[in-house]
């Protein structure tokens, strides 16, 4: 039989893609070769946004992607700011636990959009790269710094609330625009990309984790139903197993590249859990109410409670 196609946005040597390769290998073994995926890394097959529609239509079988509102007006709910500002500990609770309220919300929306959600996947946490060091990086006063944001309303509102002047431009123009000084920074960049692609252009990496954008696993509905309960369970177990296995790598990579940036002379702005939680509350209070109509007040309330509960867990876990 033809191998099933698994979309992956990151290059083959990134840990997210390596973990996916591990995952499909494990699934193949556990199902005695019944389910056999091939991972197509580097976003070769199409842009991540369209992989969603292709998974729905069945021309790609499964995808690791970021959910946007292109194919469902609510699917970009994960772009709301402040969902996991303390980084991986909260990220695990919010996105990687299949029983979390957020995962349930996405399951519902995915169903409406015509595909099946398999939950969050390992994805580097993100900060801002800046060619100027802001005087007041940790508060939300006007900074007079122009920051490129992706053209997503909630991300723009987040950056504005944090005191930045937002600029929208194509992602492919970001690094040259940064180099020529056309923009002073860009939001939602992992430390790894900051180091590998921009270390010579930037003075500062603000590891604020304010943008959330969880990487997500989705699968074609017909295909999923064809697996039957037994194989579905195997797939879910394999995902949980691989996430657990690769989480230390994810954390290690983040730390490694933040350290490398510092060694390279880039100022890395880190936040204590308390600082991150405080700022998350400020930004959520500013931005979320604007989206009450989009996602519904009840949904936002569920998420708000989840954020607060997760943050409590993170704080108590530290003690």
């Amino acid at each position: 039989a033809r191998k099933l196609k698994f979309y992956a946005p990151y290059p083959s040597d990134s840990y997210t893609s390596k973990a996916l390769v591990d995952l499909v290998k494990m699934i193949k073994e556990k199902t005695d070769g019944e389910i056999d995926f091939k991972v197509f890394p580097s976003g070769q097959l199409c842009i991540y946004e369209d992989s969603i529609e292709e998974v729905r239509a069945g021309t790609i079988d499964a995808s690791f992607t970021w959910l946007t509102k292109r194919y469902h007006p609510k699917l970009d709910i994960g772009n709301l700011p402040g969902l996991c500002t303390t980084g991986f500990p909260e990220y695990e609770l919010m996105f990687l636990d299949p029983k979390s309220p957020f995962c349930k919300i996405i399951e519902t929306y995915s169903n409406e959009a015509g595909f099946v959600s398999l939950g969050g996947w390992l994805d580097p946490r993100i900060g801002f790269i800046l060619s100027k060091v802001p005087k007041n990086p940790k508060d939300n006063l006007k900074k007079n710094i122009s920051l490129r944001v992706p053209a997503m309303p909630s991300v723009r509102d987040m950056a504005t609330a944090m005191g930045y002047n937002t600029v929208t431009m194509d992602y492919s123009e970001v690094f040259s625009a940064l180099q020529t000084g056309q923009i002073d920074g860009a939001s939602n960049i992992p430390a790894e990309d900051a180091y590998l692609q921009a270390r010579d252009m930037i003075k500062c990496f603000d590891a604020n984790n304010m943008g959330s954008t969880p990487g997500w696993l989705i699968i074609n509905k017909k295909l999923w139903e064809s697996f039957g309960p037994k194989n579905q369970k195997i797939v879910q177990d394999c995902i949980a197993f691989q996430i657990k296995k690769w989480l230390p790598v994810a954390r290690g990579t983040e730390k490694k590249y933040e350290d490398e940036l510092e060694k390279h002379g880039v100022k890395v702005i880190r936040y204590s859990s308390e600082e991150a939680i405080k700022r998350s509350a400020e930004i959520r209070a500013n931005v979320w109410p604007k989206y009450a109509d989009t996602y519904g007040k009840d949904t936002l309330k569920v998420l708000e409670d989840a954020v607060v509960a997760n943050q409590k867990k993170v704080l108590s876990g530290k003690k």
Partner: protein
């Protein structure tokens, strides 16, 4: 199946079917032979074309046409002519240098080609240069825009290969300059004895100075234009796409009121021509990308990589093999997909043999640029046919000559003398 699909492309091309339909034909064959669903073809073409960066193509076509129709281009070239009018083939050197300079604004070869050809072709014709040769020369020089930063190719390489962008940018400068030199020298040699090329009659120094002053003065508003575009980009005032729009907006009043060549009717025609030329290019990209998507799903790159590994353990042999593979890939697919396919698969292979990834950036850069000029899939060549209105049969011979005498030596040099690529990144980034 892959071989049949490639065969269909070659046969389709030779029988004179419009290119976009040739690509669709081959794609449809693979869809049916491979048992795929066809519904993703249009979606994929759409999503590829739905890119703001690609807008550089129509905008710089428009810049070129507006410059031409408004009289700006002509007075600019008059100005340049002051310095080279007396040398046989001098204008060819100017064209090569102009490709490098103008290409560095756009970061795209096709935009460079459209802009330079619309300025230089009338001038070449006036001076009696062999049309086939100079059209091909500009076509073969246009990928310089991709070797001299900023470069769309290097942005893609740095993303797919996870390498620092700045270093990748700088890596292709060395080979780019070498190429400028080779193209210029070859052109001077080829055109040296051409009896049809008119060289300006000798003038007494006083007359020459007066003429030079007049030409310079009347060219001033025109000279300002590259200053605005280049200065605007390098000072960080606008992106290349925006720079092109600003250039158009700037040149319209100049054309109307300074050179008085532009009329509303002409502007209308210019914009319609811009759009229809753009349409030809974009629909071709749309269709090529549908095809390359199927190549990826058939894992053609993976097969190539396996094959290569089984061959040898010597670094130089592997590099030779990788170059041949990329050259062949460049023949059958467009530059973007070639780069996006080749980089993640070939970079780990060459790295395991001790090749510096920044060095490989330059190798890929030069090699993929060659792909723009090698049929059957040769975007720059076909675009050159379109914008210079020169038939392929007239271009092919010179294309092969320039590939062999300029591009291949550059590729060999950058492959086996890593310092050609690495000196500038080392110098600037340490």
């Amino acid at each position: 199946m892959l071989i049949v699909a490639v065969g269909i492309i070659i046969l389709g091309l030779l029988s004179g079917i419009y290119l976009p339909y040739v690509f669709v034909l081959s794609a449809l064959f693979m869809i049916h032979a491979g048992g795929y669903e066809s519904s993703f073809l249009m979606k994929y073409g759409y999503s590829v074309c739905n890119s703001l960066v690609l807008l550089c193509v129509p905008l710089f076509i428009a810049v070129g046409l507006v410059m031409e129709k408004s009289g700006i281009g002509k007075s600019l070239v008059n100005f340049v002519g002051i310095f080279v009018g007396r040398i046989k083939g001098g204008l060819a050197v100017v064209a090569v240098v102009a490709c490098a300079a103008f290409g560095s604004i756009a970061g795209s070869s096709l935009a460079t080609l459209s802009c330079i050809s619309s300025i230089m072709m009338p001038r070449f014709e006036e001076a009696g240069y062999p049309r086939d040769y100079v059209a091909t020369l500009i076509t073969c020089a246009c990928p310089l825009g991709l070797l001299i930063p900023p470069s769309a190719h290097m942005i893609l390489y740095s993303w797919a290969g996870r390498q620092p962008l700045l270093a990748c940018f700088l890596a292709t400068v060395g080979p780019g300059l070498l190429l400028v030199l080779l193209l210029s020298v070859v052109s001077l040699i080829v055109l040296r004895k051409d009896p049809n090329i008119k060289v300006r009659a000798k003038m007494p120094p006083r007359e020459f100075l007066a003429a030079a002053r007049d030409d310079t003065f009347s060219a001033l508003p025109a000279i300002l234009m590259p200053v605005i575009v280049l200065g605007g980009i390098y000072s960080g005032t606008f992106t290349p796409t925006e720079a092109a729009a600003v250039a158009i907006i700037y040149s319209i009043p100049i054309g109307f009121f300074v050179y008085k060549k532009l009329t509303l009717r002409k502007l209308y025609e210019t914009f319609v021509e811009t759009a229809s030329t753009t349409g030809v290019i974009m629909v071709m990209i749309f269709c090529v990308m549908m095809l390359s998507r199927i190549y990826i799903m058939e894992d053609m790159p993976g097969l190539i990589a396996d094959f290569l590994r089984s061959f040898s353990n010597n670094k130089n042999v592997i590099l030779l093999g990788v170059n041949i593979v990329v050259l062949i890939m460049g023949m059958i697919m467009d530059d973007t997909s070639c780069l996006l396919l080749g980089t993640p698969i070939l970079l780990p292979v060459v790295q395991s043999f001790g090749v510096d990834p920044i060095h490989f950036a330059a190798i890929m850069g030069v090699n993929v640029a060659i792909g723009l000029l090698t049929p059957p899939t040769a975007p720059a060549l076909y675009f050159g046919i379109q914008v210079t209105k020169t038939p392929l049969s007239g271009m092919l011979k010179t294309d092969i000559i320039l590939l062999v005498t300029c591009w291949l030596p550059t590729l060999i040099a950058v492959t086996y003398f890593p310092d050609l690529a690495l000196w500038l990144p080392k110098l600037i980034l340490g």
